[in-house]
């Protein structure tokens, strides 16, 4: 820290990211509530632990190798250059910067902000596969999506020097693709192999509703995800930087907040657009689902997710309309895919995150056509083809494909799905039976005292 202004900027930035991390914790609280509420009573404890334990697993693996991937692989490698060993060196788990270091106040909080995105990516997948995946299998998938595949896509398309930004003009400011499309695609890749829950489809293929044991918990969970999403949005920004710090084409001396590509934006802009896209999604989802609470809340989320790629630059009314389109298509596509392909996505995660994220990227390519993707010279501008290819890379190449391959291997080894009898009796049956026995024993003991 060279002078007091530098010191203030550094400490402000440190505190800023720290606050975003605390906010983003609420996303995970929300996902846990949502997923537990959506499960049946006989599975709810295992469902809770399946989601909870991704926290430590993704955290430690993101520390061991995930963070290095982000800094070392923006070039592919081999597309725009080699592995960036020098950039990666400070972000290895044996680097002093990845520890208690009085000269580096930023690495820890910036790492944590990305880590919370990692949890979100894994948690999106978690909900869709409830009540029949082995926890052990899911946790390996959680490490893969949370500490490998999403962070590869971040290096490629969510880094100021990423090859997708340079060549495709890829723009995804608040992660329609780099978190949501990839996580939705990843979930679909597992679901295709995992198959539906027993009884989800009648013999003639008609889907049955498997009702959540606690709809109220589901909707409060989604409300908490909205709340945590504020932290997510803020964490996608660099809070304050001078043009000299960017070292790009911006002229003058005006300091600014930027998106992850170091392109200028403001917290005010993203606040307008977050709320308007949420509103567009809620309004449309309420109508299209005929007031169904689960889909109305999910539609609000789909609205934000669809507009997120360009919410640093959209007009708020554009954000609202785009949010509405995303919510409509997510709802329709969920039921179309369920009926047509017999995919049992227990919480609609593939639709709300995957399809909405994919569609959001494509829409962004048209609405922001010709906008600079970066403040640096020589980068492609935002364009529909680049965004479409980016969506394919996120959803299929880094999402669906690895999940499908790994799930096939797991299924072949018999370690993907729980035994049929356990699925029927419920994962929590033993615990629930023992709880009931304990209650009864105690009740009898108390009666004996009367």
């Amino acid at each position: 820290m060279g002078n007091n202004l530098d010191a203030l900027t550094t400490v402000f930035t440190e505190f800023y990211y720290w606050v975003t991390v605390v906010f983003m914790f609420l996303i995970h609280v929300g996902f846990c509530m949502y997923e537990v509420g959506a499960s049946r009573w006989r599975n709810h404890l295992h469902t809770l632990m399946k989601n909870t334990m991704l926290i430590p697993l993704v955290t430690i693996t993101f520390y061991f190798f995930g963070w290095w991937i982000y800094w070392a692989l923006p070039n592919g490698p081999g597309i725009t250059g080699p592995i960036l060993w020098d950039m990666g060196a400070a972000n290895t788990p044996w680097s002093p910067n990845m520890a208690t270091h009085l000269g580096d106040r930023i690495t820890g909080v910036f790492w944590a902000a990305f880590l919370l995105f990692s949890w979100t990516a894994a948690s999106i997948v978690s909900g869709s596969v409830i009540e029949r995946i082995r926890s052990s299998a899911f946790w390996i998938h959680a490490v893969l999506i949370g500490s490998v595949f999403w962070i590869i896509d971040a290096a490629w398309g969510w880094h100021y020097g990423g090859w997708m930004v340079q060549i495709l003009g890829y723009h995804d400011a608040y992660a329609s693709g780099v978190i949501h499309a990839i996580a939705g695609g990843y979930a679909l890749g597992i679901l295709v192999v995992l198959g539906p829950r027993i009884g989800k489809f009648a013999a003639d293929g008609t889907p049955r509703d498997i009702l959540p044991h606690n709809p109220w918990l589901v909707t409060i969970g989604l409300f908490l995800i909205y709340t945590g999403f504020w932290g997510f949005y803020a964490a996608c920004n660099v809070p304050i930087i001078a043009p000299s710090g960017i070292d790009g084409l911006i002229t003058g001396e005006t300091w600014t907040a930027t998106n992850i590509y170091l392109g200028p934006t403001t917290l005010g802009a993203i606040t307008f657009n977050f709320l308007m896209s949420l509103s567009g999604g809620l309004l449309m989802a309420y109508v299209v689902s005929k007031g169904d609470p689960f889909w109305t809340y999910s539609g609000g989320l789909a609205g934000i997710i669809t507009a997120s790629a360009g919410n640093d630059l959209y007009h708020p009314i554009q954000a609202m309309i785009i949010g509405g389109i995303g919510a409509y298509l997510a709802f329709k596509l969920h039921y179309f895919v369920e009926r047509k392909f017999k995919i049992d996505d227990a919480v609609g995660a593939v639709a709300v995150h995957g399809y909405a994220g994919f569609i959001g990227l494509v829409i962004c390519g048209f609405v922001l056509w010709g906008y600079p993707s970066s403040p640096y010279d020589g980068y492609a501008t935002v364009n529909p083809l680049g965004q479409f290819l980016g969506a394919i890379i996120m959803f299929f190449v880094l999402g669906f494909l690895p999940a499908f391959i790994v799930s096939k291997i797991m299924a072949g080894a018999g370690v993907l799905r729980i035994p049929r009898e356990v699925e029927l009796m419920g994962l929590d049956f033993k615990t629930l039976e023992e709880s009931e026995e304990s209650r009864e024993n105690f009740r009898q003991a108390e009666k004996a005292l009367v």
Binding site: W94, A99, S136, L424, D428, L432
Partner: protein, 68 residues
Amino acid sequence: METWAVDLADVGAVYPWQGAEVIMVIVGVVFWLWWHVAQVKGENEEYKADLEKYGSDEQIKKALDTHY
């Protein structure tokens, strides 16, 4: 660290065992991999015990009636 009588501008890492970072990483990775192995063993044992104790058709029907 032995004293805080320092110019903080000259201070970097302050954690103990500096120089042993790679060893600590190896210990961390071993702990992570051990956890997966232990968890899979525990999960298999849990399913086996559940099926032995509760896996009959009657028990499964009872489960569906009791804890749906």
